[in-house]
Amino acid sequence: MANDPIHQFQISKIIPIENVGGLDLSFTNVSLFMVVTVAVTSAFLYLTTANRGLVPGRLQSMSEMAYEFVASMLRDAAGTQGMRFFPLVFSLFMFVLIANLFGMFPYFFTVTSSIIVTFALAMLVIGTVVVYGFMKHGLKFLGLFVPEGVPGLLVPLVVMIEIISFLSRPISLSVRLFANMLAGHITLKVFAGFVTSLTAMGALGIGGAILPLAMTVALTGLEFLVAFLQAYVFAVLTCMYLNDALHPSH
């Protein structure tokens, strides 16, 4: 059972809170790691900047670097007007990044490997885009679906394509993150499982286990890269979608 690569995604109730208006709102291991992710993120950012040092120390530099990394990302994609969404983008980036990195600890639950979590975050982004777009531009926001300079005959077709691409955004945004984390962790678990099964076979097996062990080490490095990269991709795409809400006519 220890070798089951799916077992790590098993959700178990820690504090059962069942039947709240017909809903099961139990505090599960997913909830626990959400709380841990948010607590660690908040505490790190809060404590490292407590001194408000004019000359930052190492930890304060880390917080400032994260801030400026996301700030320049958002400014490049959506201009200075986009900075009103900065708390949202910064929260999303930090939440996804820290959740991904927590997933790298053995026996820890990877919050972002749950499709409903990534889908909820993606819907939050798209919801913000749609609500803000209509609030700011009214019906002109629909101009997003009509690119300029398209021959009249092709307009219906292009609008169709644009609408489908817009509707697929929350799906692609959430599935990309979910699938990357899920697949990475399963692969890691499978290769690590080979190591344990092979070593159980005796001397020959121990020799043969070197290959999957090396693979596990390499994959662990790769997963750290993926953890950061997926947080970055999620944040960059969020910035680009928010840019559509700010400037619908492209």
């Binding site: 077992h7 950012l45 400032e64 097996g205």
Partner: protein
Amino acid sequence: MFVTQAIAQEAAHGAAEVAHGAAESHGGGFPPFDSSTFASQLFWLALTFGFLYWFMSKVIVPRIGGILEMRQDRIAQDLDKAHELKAEADAAIAAYEQELAEAKASANEIGNKARDTAKSAAEAERQKVEKKLAEQLSEAEARIAQIRDKAMADVGSIAGETTEAIVSQLIGGSVTKAEIDKALKASEG
């Protein structure tokens, strides 16, 4: 060969176990797609992410933004101050150079004046000395001429006396002075 076989076997075994385990413990459901847990996950995500968003927008973002802004202000302020100080230094250098030039000019002037004064004083002194010397010279010349005239006159009387003595010695008689003078005048003439 053995190794690859072993891996293949183990993989097959592992896969079987996975399928078996999944079927057994999760009732055939893949945990991420088990919709019975969605409500709890969404609820706790809303709670935790909501808190994170609130904390970010109320505390973290203003704080880090403030720190960065303060640093930028400070740097700008320091740069301004540096510019100011540089301008001051430039002004001081200019003032110093101007004063130096003025001092040089006035030193030149003083030097020239002193030299001119000394030169004219020396000239006046020399002229005075020369004049004095010329006076003394002419005075001396006059005296020499006087002495020479007197000496010339004395030569006449000496010649008379000498003649008188010589004549008295030669002819043993006395000759009158008048006669001698007459003879001298004749010889002179």
